[in-house]
Amino acid sequence: MLLASAGVVALLAALNWVPSLMQKDFVKQYNSIDEAKRFSGITTVLIPTYFPEGISWPASFIVAQKRPYQALVTEFRETASGKTSLIIIQSSSPDAEKQFQRIRISEIKEETEFPLKGRSATLRTGTCDNGMSCSSLMWQEGSIYHSVLFMSSPFELIKVSESMIR
């Protein structure tokens, strides 16, 4: 019985591996943003030029996919605690945030429209599901949806987001 179950597990693992042989567009982890950018096919990947103090560069975690929709996610950690503190999602689907947001705002205290260098963005502040206060900004640039989530007040978040737009 246990042998049969081990066989089922091995078969499932093989079935999970087969699609990557047939199509190479599925979500994958990358070591560099350039590599992920090339793979995802998103031509205008926005990278912040401003990082608040205590956020370590380079990105601690990068994933990207081409199918079923283009998406590129970069996560940055706090140098002191080593915890994920800044998450940037860029995608051709508005649903990407739901799928890729490792940390979510569990309690929204305020939601407002915010003018971000001439673009209309949605600014949310509240408490994230890790219990920390956080804020997020979302806007659309052409066909790409951008979402930036930061474990801090909205002031630093706005600075980071503005530095992404040149």
């Binding site: 019985m1 049969a4 089922v8 693992a13 199509q23 079923p68 490792r102």
Partner: protein, 337 residues
């Protein structure tokens, strides 16, 4: 062709994930249940029914339970470390950029059609017919010889012969209705063709159905199966569970009459002749459906006749294989998204 955004939205939604995972989880559960039946050489149809029911129940409830305890189970990060990510298959594009999800949807659509045509519609039309029959049908005048033969066959069986309704039909037909006023319906054709002994075991089988209906496992399983109307594995498992019910009733009929060989002969006599299913009016798909019905019905009768007389009692610890199989299914399916 780009995969339509609404398709992606659906697959990643709660209900989209529920449908996909319910089907995949039921396949895995069915395979493991089958392995357990083989590994522990389980022969009792009642124990097999418990396995079938387990597959249906787990297919229905496992996803919401997993999501309740781990809401992030469906996100990309969980999927990256999962044992099997269904989305990796669904979004593969083949045959002119058609995503495999379309094929999956087509299978579900066929299952829904089969459910409506073969399960829902007959039940509704039967209910309607029964309602009409109570108000419209005139009672059939039964020949005393036929009535006596039925009374003789029922002698010793825990069933009142006034609750047996004889109807005028040359075909070999025998079935029962359960509920507050259970009835056995038997055709004149069957009474004439069967000896009293064969009639007794056949009626004992129907008495067993009525006795079993006091613990309506099948109705419970059917209600769950209705909720999983889109799930082809639930459909197959429910049908196998219903087939096992026939075997359970065969065992009870043998207990009531003590005549296994006679029951085996009676079942053989009920096997349909190929020409019974060859309607000259049937063409193409109708002919195929008719042929499948014939073969599946015949296969069931053959397997029932073949197993009679073979001891199928399992040990007293038959619950252990079910618990082990269930634990394995729950653990494996957790990592299948």
């Amino acid at each position: 062709m780009d995969i339509p955004m609404h398709m992606t939205t659906f697959i990643t939604s709660y209900w989209g994930m529920y449908i996909a995972q319910s089907v995949i989880h039921s396949i895995i559960a069915s395979v493991i249940a089958e392995c357990a039946i083989l590994a522990w050489t389980i022969g009792s149809p009642q124990v097999k029914q418990s396995f079938r029911l387990m597959v249906i129940v787990l297919s229905l409830v496992s996803f919401p339970i997993y999501q309740f305890f781990v809401p992030r189970r469906g996100d990309v990060y969980f999927r990256l470390s999962s044992l099997l990510d269904s989305n990796r298959w669904f979004f593969i594009e083949r045959w002119g950029s058609m995503p495999i999800f379309i094929v999956f949807t087509a299978i579900l659509a066929i299952t829904v059609i089969i459910f409506i045509i073969q399960e829902l519609f007959p039940i509704l039309s039967d209910l309607l017919r029964q309602m009409r029959a109570t108000t419209q049908s005139a009672p059939y005048e039964v020949d005393s010889e036929i009535r006596n033969k039925v009374a003789e066959a029922l002698d010793g069986l825990p069933f009142d012969d006034r609750l047996v309704e004889i109807f005028d039909d040359d075909d070999l037909a025998l079935f029962s209705s359960t509920g507050l006023k259970p009835m056995i319906y038997v055709s004149t054709g069957l009474i004439s063709s069967f000896s009293t002994e064969h009639l007794q075991v056949a009626l004992a089988h129907e008495v067993a159905h009525i006795q079993r209906s006091r613990k309506p496992l099948l109705i419970f399983a059917y209600l769950l199966r209705v909720l999983l109307f889109f799930n082809p594995v639930a459909m197959i498992e429910f049908r196998r569970l219903a087939h096992e019910e026939e075997k359970v009733c065969d065992d009870i009929a043998i207990e009531l009459t003590g005549k296994p060989d006679t029951l085996s002969e009676a079942i053989e006599m009920l096997r349909p002749a190929p020409e019974d299913y060859e309607d000259p009016g049937h063409r193409g798909a109708e002919r195929l459906v008719s042929s499948i019905e014939y073969h599946s019905h015949d296969l069931l009768l053959r397997s029932r006749a073949a197993r009679i007389g073979r001891p199928t009692q399992d040990g007293p610890f038959w619950g252990v294989p079910i618990i082990v199989a269930m634990a394995l299914i729950i653990c494996i399916n957790y990592f299948v998204v």
